[in-house]
Amino acid sequence: MKKNLAPIARLFWNALGIAILVFLFGASYRVTQIDFPRLVRDAYKARDFVMAFLSPDVVTRDVETTVIEMNFPVPCGSAPEAEMPDSGPRLVTNVPCAEARQTFILEGFDLLPNSEVNVSWLLPTGGTLRIGRVTTDEDGHFLIEVEVRPITAAQDGVPSRITAETLVPVGPLKPSQALLDVMREMFVTIFMALLSTTIATIIAAPLSFLAASNITKRGVLGTAVYYIARSFFNFIRSFEPLVMASVFAFWLGYGPFAGSLALTVVTTASLGKLFSEAVESIDSGPIEAIQATGANRLQTVLYAVVPQIVPDFISFIVYHWDINVRISTIIGFVGGGGIGYYLNEQINSMVGYHRAGTAIWAIIIVVWALDFLSAEVRKRLT
């Protein structure tokens, strides 16, 4: 009887299990508002950002402007006409002069190829009137249609002049403002990570000995200290970095200080646990050997324990520095300062996509470099 029932019962439970799983999946599908077609439909929205990301704002050059000018009397006869040279960088019009509201063609020859040119009127009153911005072709030629406005009329025999300013990048490439900003913020982030890792190490290293059973858990007092130290680490371990950062940002205002404090707390908790586990896993042989010589507790720790844990400690510290650079990037988003904050600002500013691209590249490079460095350091420490 039982043997016959068992498969049916199992079938029932399996079916129920699957039904629950399907229900849970369906529910989460709805809650997450999954909309795959949208990935394609809205791809254009991401395009700007991706393009900006691929062309980060990294370098710039000084710009030198060269100006060529010509007289252009409006109306005809109000002033002497300009002579139009046949060679060299020059401006040429299809008519020597014009009446107001007439349209004429302005051409530039033998200018710098592929350059931006600002064309404008220089009025007899000293003011300027913008005509437009053109780009020369590879022969250094441009052509633009100009409509004559009454304001360009000559005054007392002084005609308006047409000027063409060619903007030429000169000198060596130099870092752009965005790159400098990103580098500065990156250093802030790296030093935030370094500082908080250092402070966390200073707090966690001694405490980790107290939280190591093989060092501390002796006698009533030792056991009490052991549990207190352990509880302390467990308590601060329950705080998430982002929550911590928000709390400190609320308390101290946005900035690197709040971010560093949050990182310090989180790192102390994590390092404390890793350190005390490293201390607990050491070989007890040298400890008893050093104790047997008549050494005191501190001497025993320094001569028998420390040499065994130094490589582990260093590798944990370097690893956390590496991690903290990443976390502080994220913490920056919620107001912790550094590169994350900068990135957030640029993304929200709509016009800062190229700068955001620079920041993202910087993060990628630094994270990669630190990852490499920390792996390399840890490899050496065997």
């Binding site: 042989g285 010589t293 008549g294 001569y303």
Partner: protein, 257 residues
């Protein structure tokens, strides 16, 4: 003279590792402790310098009650009791020199020693100790770069730094091959001849016969024999090591004899 009275050790998990053990060790003896694995040899040796706290019983060194010593007094007593271990117990990542110097920690200025600063006299003493065990040229090597036999010699040099009156050696040669075993035990023998008391646990009977001036045997934490090495005949042997172990041990015993 060392006097052990009614020594009992019960571990927190209830294991009775030593049960009412009493014996005396005269100055200048080479006392060997034998017994099966788990019979309590290591526990006994560690009770003498209180690396393990005895549950009850007393240990007197001349007139000093080691078992009643305060932590500070205990450190002073330990300074004169060198210890050598089966696993050498060197700090592997430290240099040979540092390992040997650490034998001097009980004497050193605590603060300077924490900074790693050692008086020239101690360094000289360490080199002498290394010379004595024949590896002065290895002083700057890392301890784990040495072979097992060399590491044990560093262990002996470290014990020598203590100016010891007694050497406790817990199976000092159990991790070494027979040739090396003799060379290590010969160092201990030499120290013994220079006047040190040696208390040494050993596994191989041929070594017991060769080096011991007196033997005690433990079985399940109880002292089952005390006497001269030559008194360990087949009957005693059977008593100490039990029926199963008899053949293997006896074979090696006979081949040796």
């Amino acid at each position: 003279m060392l006097r052990i009275e009614n020594l009992t050790k019960i571990y927190p998990n209830g294991t009775r590792a030593l049960h009412d053990v009493s014996f005396e060790v005269q100055d200048g003896e080479f006392l060997v402790v034998i017994g099966l694995s788990g019979s309590g040899k290591s526990t006994l040796l560690r009770c003498i310098n209180r690396l393990i706290e005895p549950t009850s019983g007393k240990i007197f060194w001349d007139d000093i009650d080691i078992t009643a010593a305060s932590p500070a007094e205990l450190r002073h007593i330990r300074r004169h009791i060198g210890m050598v271990f089966q696993q050498f117990n060197l700090v592997k990542r430290s240099s040979v020199m540092t390992n040997v110097l650490s034998g001097r920690l009980g004497y050193a200025n605590p603060w300077l020693s924490l900074l790693g600063i050692w008086p020239a006299a101690d360094k000289e003493m360490a080199l002498k100790a290394l010379e004595r065990v024949g590896i002065a040229d290895k002083a700057q090597s890392r301890a784990d770069a040495l072979s097992g036999g060399q590491q044990q010699r560093v262990g002996i040099a470290r014990a020598l730094m203590q100016d010891p009156k007694i050497i406790l050696a817990d199976e000092p040669v159990a991790s070494l091959d027979p040739v090396l075993s003799h060379s290590i035990l010969q160092y201990l023998e030499q120290l013994n001849k220079d006047g040190l008391t040696v208390i040494c646990s050993l596994h191989f009977l041929d070594l017991v016969h060769r080096y011991a001036t007196r033997v005690i045997a433990l079985k399940d934490g109880v002292k089952v024999f005390e006497g001269l090495p030559k008194e360990i005949d087949r009957a005693k042997f059977k008593e100490i090591y039990g029926e199963e172990a008899q053949e293997v041990r006896a074979a090696s015993f006979e081949a040796e004899a």
